[in-house]
Symmetry: C3
Subunit: 142 residues, 3 copies
């Protein structure tokens, strides 16, 4: 378990850095081809890398236009190998936003539940569900 | 050391999730039967699982009444095996609070010193001392 | 990789605790003798332990005078062994500040790139470069 825990942390560090740096194709490539990204703040899940990449690009462009740098912190991670060989990873995710020349602040607090699969010595996300803490408790419907 | 470090992180992820989800009996069960929870913000330490559970229930009910979701982040963890077989774990702990429909923010920054004991392949907290950063430096008296 | 990841986390926990506790000589001792600490918020890098210690002392005194407790959180860590035997470690770093009797808040969000060397079973920082998120993207010039 302890090796897996460190590996998943390392994967998340890389994955979220892609997102925060606007490397949206690389970000989408951390999901399986038909991966699902659901969030209780989105009207519908993104399905597949193309939708995931398009969603990230739109968000990155909006942030760039506002001059905001965003950092995703994932922490408090629990991992569990599943009988089918996938890995369930539950984490807290915090978004920190800093406007150019301005004050950094917590933008949002969420929880994140992933189904990870092993691929080429690393991981890919098969399913992700993000729940914003400011929205009601129910998980986003898929 | 590195395996221990990951194991303790994993334990904290589970433990704090119990607290943040209001699973107060499970939370109390992460302490030894006569565990001590001291905090420089409390008038007296909680002693034993019953007091620890009662304290957590009261806090959970107050938060629920206010519609606030709370997340405890423990990080910057140092662990050290002690000669008596216990584990000393020092961490920083951050509380993030989000009101329903509102803005997430840092509620409190603290440091946390634990004495952990191994039990059934995992850990239990024997003693915890939490020091709020907004209160003077001296540790809470036990 | 997973053992290295945990070891680096542990090193950072110790290192930043030195800084946050005002143990400035111990903090400087976590760098190699001729270590470099560069930051895009500083006019020039600190070079060598004496400069690093002096810089930390000045900051610690200013905070003490204001009654502010500061916590450095490093997370989202990526580590990579380099061909020359050094370790490249990239992280996000968050500074949380709490005034005595006041409200904790995010003070600053940064990213941190380190070159670490192994020494006596642990690590020392050979080069650190910190980039504040509120300042332009270019790394500090060395």
């Amino acid at each position: 378990m302890s090796a897996l825990h460190a590996e998943v942390q390392h994967f998340y560090a890389r994955q979220m850095r892609y997102l925060d740096e606007g490397a949206v194709a690389e970000w989408a490539g951390t999901f399986v081809e038909d991966g699902v990204f659901a969030a209780n703040g989105h009207p519908a899940p993104f399905r597949g890398r193309d939708e995931i990449e398009a969603g990230a690009r739109k968000a990155a462009q909006a942030l760039a236009a506002q001059g905001i740098r965003r950092r995703h912190w994932l922490g408090m991670i629990e991992v569990a190998e599943q009988p089918d060989g996938t890995i369930r990873a539950d984490s807290y995710a915090l978004i920190i936003a800093t406007p150019a020349g301005g004050q950094a602040a917590v933008q949002m607090s969420t929880s994140c539940s992933d189904v990870l699969v092993r691929r080429d010595g690393g991981f890919l996300v098969a399913e992700r569900q993000v729940c914003r803490d400011d929205i009601a408790d129910r998980p986003a419907e898929q």
